[in-house]
Amino acid sequence: MPKTPLPFSHQSEYLSILDENGNVDKALEPELPEEFLLKLYWYMLLGRRFDERMLNLQRQGRIGTFPPLIGQEASQLGAVAALKPSDWMAPAFREALAEIWRGKSMENTILYYAGYDEGGVIEKSRNDLPLAIPVSSQTLHAVGIAMAIKYRGQPDVAMTFFGDGATSEGDFHEALNFAGVFQVPVIFVCQNNQWAISTPLAKQTRSETIAQKAASYGFPGIQVDGNDILAVYSASLKAIERARSGEGPSLIECLTYRMGLHTTADDPTKYRDNKEVKMWESRDPISRFRTYLLNKGVLSNKKSQQYEEEIKTEIQGVVERSEELMTELGAPEDMFAHQYDELPPHLLRQREEMLDQWRLDQEEEKHG
């Protein structure tokens, strides 16, 4: 009965390909077609500008509370960009850009945050779940989808996003454990943006990394520089290929930073030092990718400027169209839509009652 070290063999890696100045590690650099690189850049820029515009709309009271994603463009886009359209994606709530890449219309994003349930619609083109606000709950759904994929023998994978805070929930543990036990094609992508509202990572876990948690469930975890889109993309592609070939789940921890507010209802000056924010500003995911593309000769300043113009026009159009849509939507009885396959009799009656009450409210307001 000896006392011996356990054969605990897992080793987690850290991956960075593009440093914060845009210098690339030639040995690790993925070979990607120019159009694809430019498309990534275009979407990153779109994500940034759209986020800025949303913040603006919120401040003007034209939409409600929303969670900005500024700073996390690479860590979400890099991951979904490695998926095929037929794959599945289960986001948390800070993945607006990942959703847009997957085919969500920005009009719907605006409608959703302006308080219209219609904005939650999942476009026919994509196999994604709607955003999930209850933290970490969606990770289990991705596991279930992956279990069904395996059962049906399909070549697809499921990818799910969640934050650093989410790793504290029981659902997260259960999801990783199921994934490990059943060896299903799921990729867990942690957006480790260092904060869960006011709670810093150090108060969330004593683990040195989130990546290493995968080891205790029996599958690989990798930590990547989440502000390096090449690293996120490469790690994701590898995990996806692994899952697709039947080798089971993986966890990718994207080290990034929540540059903005938790949501527009939050005041980060209450709990974090602006110096930290400044430090992360210098690690911006977009500017380093731009430098890389410029150095590579794929992008020119002129083209970059042209992208800015295109995106500005596109977003302006989106805002106008969504506000026009709002004038057509909003019939109160539509709140009874999509409750059940068939509305039971008491709800049919309640819908009538609601309409009567609503009309009377309107009339009384008019006539004082």
């Binding site: 409600g64 509370t65 959703y112 302006a114 308080g115 219209y116 349930d117 904005g119 606000i133 209850p134 933290v135 805070g165 989410a166 504290s168 929930e169 029981g170 659902d171 869960a196 509202i197 006011s198 709670t199 108060k203 969330q204 876990t205 949501t263 209802a265 939050d266 209450k270 709990y271 709002m326 939507l329 909003g330 109160p332 539509d334 709140m335 009874f336 409750q339 008491h346 709800l347 309640q350 819908r351 009652e353 609601m354 009450q357 609503w358 009377l360 409210d361 009384e364």
Partner: protein
């Protein structure tokens, strides 16, 4: 006396109970450094330290499960769950243990904990941030379910909840957090759990409401008086469970009519229980069926439609008039 918002009044209750009793400790997500996302525990970490005002990892089951352990050991934990819509993550700890340990241990242990959570609609919030699902908790034997309606009673009820030897679910109507101020005395004030209060006298109609439905109920009562000469007696339930309708039944024996108002869904909601109790205790005095003005039995809509969903003073006025006319 200082004029306070509900947020400030709750903060006062927590501070004073912590000063008086070192068994009282707070735990929850963002309750310490941030002072809670609504600032109910603002400044308490500076005053009492991080051992007593605990910023926990993001895990509701962890918060409530750990609070149960603390309570069994002799502390008086006050948990904050950031929004009532996330209490489902800890539901099994409440149902399986907080509510049952006294019974299961045959009286050896009890669970004097409070679970605070903002609930209710009307604040243009995201999904899961507007529901009123107090019925889940009221339906669970072993739990108490309390809902204040203003700064002063929220403070007095919170003190009682903390001192109560049994687990209390304390839902705070978030739309009233900063809606108005009231005088709140610095010296101790408590309201007993389990007793509704009459907040307006009247002989024609008994109106029962609680939480954020109190302001529109009072507004309706005022309008009914000035526009129609109808005198409405208004009761503020304050405690949903254990429910005591003694005073309300007494009022119904006088008025012969009752209307119940809540944001919660209608079916199987608190109103259903109140109506049933009135049937048991005042059936022969009722001159018309009791009406309910409630949220509809559907998923709470996102905020573009929430005005059409939420009960308001106009709907209450109509319900009272219809009940009296029938």
């Amino acid at each position: 006396m200082a004029k306070m918002t509900m947020v400030q009044a709750l903060n006062l209750a927590l501070r004073q109970e912590m000063e008086k009793d070192d068994r009282v400790i707070l735990l929850g997500e963002d309750v310490g450094v941030d002072g809670g996302v609504f600032r109910v525990s603002d400044g308490l970490i500076d005053r009492f330290g991080a051992e007593r005002v605990i910023d926990t990892p993001l895990a509701e089951s962890g918060i409530v499960g750990a609070a149960i352990g603390m309570a069994v050991y002799g502390l008086r934990p006050v948990c904050e769950i950031q929004f009532s819509g996330f209490t489902y993550f800890n539901f099994h700890q409440l149902e399986s243990h907080a509510a049952r340990l006294r019974h299961r241990s045959q009286g050896k242990y009890h669970v004097p904990m409070v679970l605070r959570a903002p609930y209710g609609g009307g604040v243009r919030a995201l999904e899961h941030h507007s529901e009123s699902r107090e019925a889940y908790y009221a339906h669970t034997p072993g739990l108490k379910m309390v809902i204040p309606s203003g700064p002063r009673n929220s403070r007095a009820l919170m003190v009682s909840a903390i001192r109560d030897p049994d687990p209390v679910i304390f839902f705070e109507p978030k739309s009233l957090y900063r809606a108005f101020r009231e005088e709140v005395p610095e010296e101790e004030e408590i309201l007993p759990l389990g007793v509704p209060v009459k907040v307006r006298e009247g002989g024609d109609m008994t109106l029962v409401a609680y939480g954020a439905m109190i302001p529109p109920s009072l507004e309706a009562a005022e309008a009914l008086k000035s526009n129609h000469g109808i005198e409405v007696e208004v009761f503020d339930l304050l405690t949903i469970s254990p429910l005591d309708v003694t005073l309300i039944a007494e009022s119904v024996r006088k008025t012969g009519h009752a209307v119940v108002v809540h944001e919660a869904h209608r079916s199987f909601g608190p109103g259903a229980e109140i109506m049933a109790r009135l049937m048991e205790e005042a059936f022969f005095y009722l001159e018309a069926p009791v009406k309910r003005v409630t949220g509809y039995d559907i998923i709470y809509p996102l905020f573009a439609r929430e005005n059409a969903y939420m009960p308001n003073a106009k709907r209450i006025v109509r319900a009272v008039r219809e009940t009296l006319a029938s």
